[in-house]
């Protein structure tokens, strides 16, 4: 019987004994011998090591190596808005992008510029889910007041004024009418503003061209250039130094192609990308994966995808579970905003930089999330609560 002490003899010593033993009896080359013996020795080592490890007396230290990635390109930084000194009239500017690591990989590098929230404002009363509408009913026919409300009360970082009344089906207001609305909103708030067109292929071009002109000096974001309507918008953006939202529909190749076309007129400081946001439960995974892929491609050197990403998060309300009046699914006062919040959170983790949102509770939640996630905290082991013994109030 060997003692425990003998069992823990080092591998080297053991190998030495064997080599010696065999060499006495057989004449072979040493290299060959080592090869032949190795598996046997390894087996011996295993057999010897196992019982020795069966009852460790104390913790066996191991360390963790931070799994850093290698990235070759930073995401473009884009500054929205311009102050008086910069040729605009805004009280402040906001900058997005600049990242050098996948979203929220804090161990590698925290977000260069934390994501921001743009609250949606419409230039005419629009059909909205009841749970959203209740927060806007006083301002539905006054875009300037609407803009003030989202900035002053709901804390939006920037405002998107959607010029939907220019749609031929919804009022067919002229680009000049749209310009007036834009002027009113510029007067009403000091934050940068973004301009949304109606989605009418005939009108979007002329409306955004006019918007680029009246926003001269303001560094606004023109939403959006699409594969069908982009040339006039890009030319106007170049002429008036605006930024363009390059919007495609869940197709990474289409996004690359549209950006290539925009490069003819625009510099990298003038492009934000939007691959379309689908609601939680209704295609969110497509938006999630495409945003994640775009961010990674940008970091790994793809010149056509190195841009901050925007999400039309309000689309979360397309999910019937968000708005349906079905008490058995729980109060829609909570169901709606949590739907918008979770949709945003998934895309936040995928790498979105700009969230266009509506419900005040969801806006607050996403602001909180960005704040909570932007850096690592030192949390001591004892600060993690023992949830196995805690008492949770009944009915909660």
């Amino acid at each position: 019987m060997t003692t425990d002490k003998e069992r823990t003899t080092s591998l080297d010593d053991m190998f030495g004994d064997f080599a010696e033993l065999v060499l006495e009896n057989v004449t072979i080359e040493l290299d060959e011998l080592k090869l032949a013996l190795r598996p046997m020795v390894q087996q011996m080592a295993k057999a010897v090591a196992r019982p020795a490890l069966e009852m460790p007396k104390s913790l066996i230290p191991a360390s963790f190596k931070t799994p850093l990635g290698e990235y070759t390109q930073a995401i473009q930084e884009i500054t929205l808005g311009a102050t008086k000194g910069q040729g605009g009239t805004r009280g402040n500017t906001v900058t997005i992008g600049g990242h050098t690591a996948p979203a929220w990989d804090l161990f590698q590098s925290p977000p260069a510029r934390p994501p921001i929230i743009a609250a949606d404002v419409f230039d005419m009363p629009i059909s909205l889910a009841k749970m959203v509408k209740m927060h806007y009913k006083e301002v539905l026919d006054d875009p300037a007041e609407w803009a003030k409300l989202v900035v002053d009360k709901y804390g939006a970082d920037v405002v998107t004024i959607h010029l939907i009344s220019t749609d031929r089906q919804l009022g067919d207001t002229s680009p000049n009418d749209a310009a007036k609305v834009i002027e009113e909103v510029l007067q009403a708030v000091k934050v940068p503003i973004l301009i949304g067109s109606a989605g009418d292929p005939e009108k979007d071009g002329p409306v955004l061209v006019k918007a680029a002109e009246v926003c001269e000096g303001e560094r606004t974001l023109l939403c959006s250039a699409t594969v069908d309507v982009f040339e006039d918008i890009a030319i106007a953006a170049k002429k008036h130094d605006q930024i363009v939202l390059s919007w495609t529909s869940i197709d990474i190749n289409q996004q690359k192609e549209l950006n290539r076309r925009l490069f003819e007129w625009l510099t990298p400081e003038q492009i934000v990308i939007d691959p379309t946001t689908a609601a939680l439960g209704y295609g969110l995974e497509y938006a999630f994966t495409i945003m994640q892929r775009m961010r990674l491609a940008g970091l790994l050197g793809d010149k056509e995808l190195r841009f901050p990403i925007s999400s039309g998060t309000t689309n979360a309300w397309a999910a019937r579970e968000a708005w349906m009046n079905k008490p058995e699914l729980g109060p829609r006062e909570l169901r709606g905003p949590i739907w918008e919040s979770v949709t945003a959170l998934a895309l936040l983790l995928a790498g979105s930089d700009l969230f266009m949102m509506m419900h005040p509770a969801a806006i607050k939640t996403v602001h909180d999330l960005i704040d909570w996630m932007k850096e690592r905290q030192k949390i001591k082991p004892e600060e993690y609560p023992d949830w196995t013994t805690m008492t949770i109030p009944e009915g909660a």
């Binding site: 066996i60 191991a62 689908a278 439960g281 949390i379």
Partner: protein, 471 residues
């Protein structure tokens, strides 16, 4: 990143007899499916049953072992597999084994309350695109701090349910008592810590049970704990690096991400285990005079972040529809196979007993749009035609905006599928979201357009009212 084995790596380790017991034509076909991760090794029964293949079996198990091991909790039909992850990003292949949701039960409930809680957990369900969303398991918490109570309640649990159980206590005596009572149900033990590893590790090896290693606040500590448990002979380990919510959420997301990146991209075999998140921990911050909804809100956010960032199993408290619908939807979305087509085939679909007077509706061929509309029509039990227009897999709203759904396109599709031959009327019901193109569609197609509801949940009511037939 670890290179996943190809068919030619796998084939030589199969029996090579082309016995077809697995249901495939031959061993090469099986190897190909193994490489695609669409079949499981255990389907090759000779490999497991015949001793002459023992060596091959050992080698192939090593070869195909995913960088994150798969661990089974529970027994029988309701047993749940966690982990088994192959890739860091779902677009690299797909995520397997959707995050398992274990709902808590305190061990000090009276019999009635216990039964009610189990029933609520088991019966939580929602129909989502043709499938029933469900919860997965029960986490028994040792609130009593009394080993006997804990073990008795564990026993009662197994009489009330055959769902998988997790035994949760940081006190080794509690775990010893309960593990002994219900070891044959294969519960997951929670947890061994830097202080209790020796005692708890022994309980796990003695009963051959999976065990959670809980070392919050330090990934070095977690590595050390796992290293030690493995030396003790514990083979099935689940990692808990600690869950912090609110201001700690970034740290938690970061810890989870580091663990998974390390296992998959850096092939750190020591940490190649499933990860456990405990959003239930938010209740430690709950104040009694506060509305519980606020705490539930935080629980949903914490759980959502962890579902996205690599949690393989979660312990949750809330069981409301408004809290768990978003979580089960999010899980379902992210675990969908990314190669699943976005589009269904265009064409004319028939529902129920259709005739020349049946209504004709149209929608797009985006899979989610189509299946949602289909499910609403079926649930309503109406007789109707549904014309599916090829919009290159875009939803109604996006397709109208992106001009993939146009008046011409609708008219062409009406022609192509000869809808005029099927019905006596020429009335087409448009999705509410496509109202914009309805006027133009009337001009181009010669059909009368009626604008239907904006959401297909309104279809039954809309058809019942019969307004679509009015001139």
């Amino acid at each position: 990143m670890a290179k996943l084995p190809g068919p030619l790596d796998i084939y030589p380790l199969l029996p090579g007899t082309n016995c077809q017991d697995c249901g495939e034509a031959n061993c090469m076909a099986f190897a190909t499916k193994m490489a695609e991760h669409t079949v499981k090794l255990k389907a090759c029964t000779p490999l497991f049953e015949e001793t002459k293949y023992a060596k091959k079996l050992e080698k192939i198990q090593e070869l195909v072992r995913p960088p994150v091991r798969e661990i089974v909790v529970g027994v029988g039909e309701n047993a749940v597999s966690i982990g088994g992850k192959l890739v860091l990003y779902r677009h690299d292949l797909r995520y397997s084994n959707p995050t398992a949701f274990f709902l808590d039960v305190p061990d000090n409930l009276d019999a009635e309350a216990l039964a009610a809680r189990i029933k609520a957990i088991e019966e939580w369900t929602y129909v989502y695109i043709g499938t029933d969303l469900r919860l997965d398991g029960i986490a028994l918490r040792g609130v009593s701090q009394d080993p006997k109570t804990f073990a008795t309640t564990a026993k009662k649990l197994t009489e009330l349910t055959d769902w998988p159980i997790m035994l949760c206590s940081l006190n080794p005596e509690m775990l010893a008592a309960a593990a002994k009572t219900i070891a044959n149900k294969r519960p997951l033990l929670y947890a061994a810590t830097m202080d209790t590893w020796a005692q708890v590790g022994e309980i796990a090896t003695k009963h051959d049970l999976p065990l959670v290693a809980f070392a919050p606040g330090s990934l070095d500590n977690l590595s050390t704990l796992v290293n030690t448990l493995r030396a003790l002979g514990v083979e099935e380990i689940v990692l808990d690096p600690g869950t912090a919510s609110r201001t700690g959420l970034g740290t938690t997301v970061d810890d989870f991400t580091q663990l998974r990146r390390s296992a998959i991209l850096e092939e750190n075999e020591l940490l190649g285990y499933p990860i456990l998140g405990t959003p239930i921990a938010v209740w430690a911050d709950h104040k009694e005079d506060e509305a519980p909804e606020l705490t539930k809100w935080d629980e949903v956010l914490t759980a959502s972040a962890q579902i996205v960032r690599y949690a393989d199993i979660l312990v949750l408290h809330s069981i409301d529809m408004w809290t768990n619908l978003p979580l089960t939807f999010l899980r379902s979305n992210l675990y969908t196979d990314p190669v699943k087509p976005v589009a269904v085939e265009a064409g004319l679909m028939e529902f129920g007993d259709v005739g020349p007077d049946s209504p004709v509706m149209y929608t797009t061929n985006f899979a989610l749009t189509y299946f949602t509309v289909e499910s609403d029509i079926k649930q309503a039990g109406v007789n109707a035609y549904l014309l599916v227009v090829d919009t290159e897999g875009m939803s109604v709203q996006s397709a109208v905006a992106g001009r993939k759904l146009t008046a011409e396109k609708v008219a062409e599709t009406l022609e192509e599928y000869k809808v005029a031959d099927k019905v006596k009327h020429k009335i087409l019901i448009s999705p509410g979201m496509a109202a914009r193109i309805s006027g133009e569609t009337e001009e181009v197609s010669g059909w009368t357009l009626k604008v239907g509801p904006r959401d297909s949940s309104g279809i039954p009511k809309y058809l019942q009212e019969g307004k679509w037939k009015e001139e």
